[in-house]
Every structure is written in structure tokens, then in C-alpha cells.
Amino acid sequence: MMAAVAARELRNGEVVFVGIGLPNLACNLARATHAPRLVLIYESGAVGAVPERLPVSIGDPALVTGSLMVCGMADVFQCMLQNGRIEVGFLGGAQVDRYGNINTTVIGPYARPKVRLPGSGGATEIAIHARRTLIVAKLGPRAFPERVDFVTSPGLRPQGRLRRELRMPGAGPVKVITDKAILEADEATGEIVLAALYPGVSVPDVQAGVGWALTCRSGLAAVAPPTPQELRLLRDVLDPKRLFLKQ
């Protein structure tokens, strides 16, 4: 469901900075359905990748074979990302907060972490530079606290300041795709708010997975379930070994 919903957010011909796991599935589903001209860029340097197998990491050799270009990572970050060429960036993380800030660094204090997470990778600069970002994360009170323990990737209002005050080139997280609902950026407040519900999900179901009083848009939209074609592609073609599709 999350992969199908994320895929629908991508438009044909867009340049997408792809992360591994669910974003990778979503991008390849979009490519197989409505967006065959989607350009997939991986931080490892593969540009216009057409992986014949589901890549297990963002450095998978299948991203190289048949791609349009392979460049060094200095080119990826300087000539592609900082240059403003990335239209959509996918982000995920252990914690996402009220303002769309993401933490992939530490749970607890930095000097004495309860859980040490991997850190930024390219996420910090994707969050800053991609023209828009899509956050993909499952709801839960620990995953969606009011404030993240550490801002790895800035959202709509990091450290109490709006993105334009901080002179960030990109628009930040326009949508948060969860397992129950779609949350969206509210430009006026810099908060993420409830915008659309999946079939069979109620507002209290979503609120239960969020650590602050969630604002609801007036007139919540209903998210269409995955089509038979989307399900067939995901299950039989893109991830037949269920590497990422756990449910």
C-alpha cells in the first residue's frame, strides 16, 4: 500500500533521488506504470538506472548495468543535488516530528545514545536541496514524537525557523506517506497535518500513532487502495522474494 501510494506521487519524466527499500520499490513501480521516463538517481553515482533485479543496497551492481551515466559521488552531490537538478527526494527515518524534521542519528543524547542509528548518509543534503521531498514512515508514537531527539534532515520548521529564513533551496517534505494515512505540509504553520485516510482507517487510528494533537484538513480525502495491476507488479515482478514487502 505505501509503495503504491508513493509511486502515485511521482510524475513521468521527473528526476528522483532514490533511497533503498520502499522508495526504490515505489520508483520502479512508477516506472512500470504511469512514469516510464522517470530518471532514477542513486547517491552511489548511478544516473538513469534501470535495475533488472531489486537492488539490495544503493550501491548494487545492477544499478550500473544499463544506466545512462555513472559518476563519482562528488559529481552527485555538487553537480546534481546542489546544482538543483533533483526534483524529488525520498526520505525515511526512525523519528519524524510535527514539523517534518527527521532523525536518523541517535535516540537519546548524542554523547551517550540509547540507540545509535546510522547517521545522515546523504539525507541531510537531500532534505535541503531536493525541490520537494516525500517522507515514508510507519505511524507509531515512538516514530512520530512532537520533537525529534536530533535533527538529521531538516523539515518545514527546523529549530523554530522556516526554511526560507534558513535559505534552503528546496521546498522540504510536501507529503508524509504512512501505513494508515497521508500527511501533508501546512505552509502557514510549518506543521504536517492529516490530509487523506487509507480505506478502513479512522482519524483516531492515525492520532494514536502521532505524539502531538494532529491537525486535520477540512474534508479529508480517501486514498484509493492499490489496483490489481499495482499489486501484481509489486508482488510478482518487483519484489518476488519479499525483500521489502513484508506484509
Binding site: 553515482g45 550500473v64 563519482g72 559521488m73 555538487q78 542519528t105 543534503e125 531538516p154 527546523p158 534552503m168
Partner: protein, 304 residues
Amino acid sequence: MSDHASKVMPMRDAIARFVHDGDTVVIEGFTHLICFAAGHEIIRQRRRDLTLARLTPDLIYDQMIGAGCARKLVFSWAGNPGVGSLHAFRRAVEAPGTAPLEIEEYSHFGMVARFSAGAARLPFWPLRDYMGTDLPRVNPRIKTVTCPYTGEDLATVPALNPDVTIVHAQRADADGNTQIWGLLGVQREAAFASARVIVVVEELVDEQAIRSDPNRTVIPGMIVDAVVVEPWGAHPSYAQGYYDRDNDFYVAWEDISRSPDRLTRYLDEFVYGVPDRAAYLKKQPHVTRLKAKERVCAGVNYGY
């Protein structure tokens, strides 16, 4: 520069000559071409107090941390790619006191920029990054500078100039002219930034093979100190056109690294327990299943 023939040497000699206790050591390679053979030899020779720097510490630095080689880690993403955690690293950071490990943390762009500055022999590199994040708060080496042309505040990171950089590659000639294809990572910048460079290759080729396709040369021999020929030297990482990643081992590392005892047993059997890479490979003949299929490109006309 020493004469050409003397650059080609066994791994044991290259590590003994060029990697010293207390050095800043970079074994680069983004998922692709990570030189486990060199990391294992550094563990075997029991180097200590190393500052290990790399974008993604990966399993090789987890093994070196577990083996007690590292005093400090400089990095931007410390996970087991596509699998989970690096548990030796996590133990050292989450429970300091048992095995203290200093960390200095950036994002990928920050690390790439550090190597770019190092390669250009500049003191720092500017980048539009880090605004609104907590990284500069925990890493005071991330600073800002005001652009003298536009007045814009830009983030800066300091140059990273390693004592030694080790790069795995598909092929090189005896002088160290090194060709890489597939993912290039930040190897070129890391090599140029370094005081010493060790190149480890799947195949040693004639200078003429290099000259026939000069656009594929990533590292010129003039900056290379040692050339080591070590087929399958990147396993369980991969070498495009030679062998695929041993993903089963990456998955297995989750359990091995979670237990200090199992980690020690792994090192005893596959690192301390073998004299060199050839013996390591002999213990696991199944790796031949990873041999790459053929996808040869047509080549181009360099004539004029």
C-alpha cells in the same frame, strides 16, 4: 619516484611499509570495491590507534573496530547496507568505557567535500548544507564562511588528508595507473588527498592495456606507492565485471557482530587464522557462485 617494478608487492609488505600505528587510514569504496583484503592484513599486523575514515564504515571497519585497531572513526553513514546495524561500532558508541571510540560525524556531502578539499590541497571546502540541522552542534569542525562575492553564509568542512588511502580496483599496471568502472565513489579524491596510496587490483595488466583506454584511468601511477595484486580482494564486497556482492555474508554479519564472542571467533578463523587472502578464499570455495556474468561494452575509437 621509485622505479616501477618495485611498486608491485605482496599485501603483507604493502601494509608493513605504508600503514603505521596512529595513522589516519582510508579504505574507500561505496559498497563497490571495498578492500577487505587490506583491512584483514591491518588486523593481522595488529595496527593500533588508527583514525579510520570513510563515508560508510561498512563491515570492514566494524571488523577493525572489533579487532581493536581504531581509536577514532570519521564517517557519514554507519550501518550494514540493506541489512541493519554495525554492532561492534554500536557497542563502542553506546557503551563507552568498554572500548572507547571517538567519533567525528558528517553527511555524505560533507565527507565528499572533505576529500575534495584534501585532493586540491585547500584548507576547507564550502557547501550549501547543514542549515537547520543538529550536525554542526555535535561536530564543531563544521563551520560557516561568508562568501566574499555574494555575502551568503556557506557551510565549510575541513580538508581530510589521510596518511594512507587504500583503493581496490579492477586493474592497474605495474606503475599503479589504475582503472575502475562501475560505481566510482570518492576513490579518486581520497587517493589524491592522501600522503601515501596503496592500490589493490583484481588484475595486473600491461601499460599498453591502460594506454588503450585512458579515459577509464581514475588514479594515475604518479600518486601510487604500492600495487598489490589480490584477486577477490574485495569479497564480501564486489567488483563490477568480476564478482557480485556476497549478500549472504552481509546478512550473517548482523548475528556475528551482535555477539563479541562470535565476532572474535570470526576474526580467529578468517583473519588471524589465515596467512593471506589466498588462504581466506580457500576456506570458502562457494564464493565462486558470485562470479560475474558477461556484459561487455563495445569500446570506442580513440583515433584521430
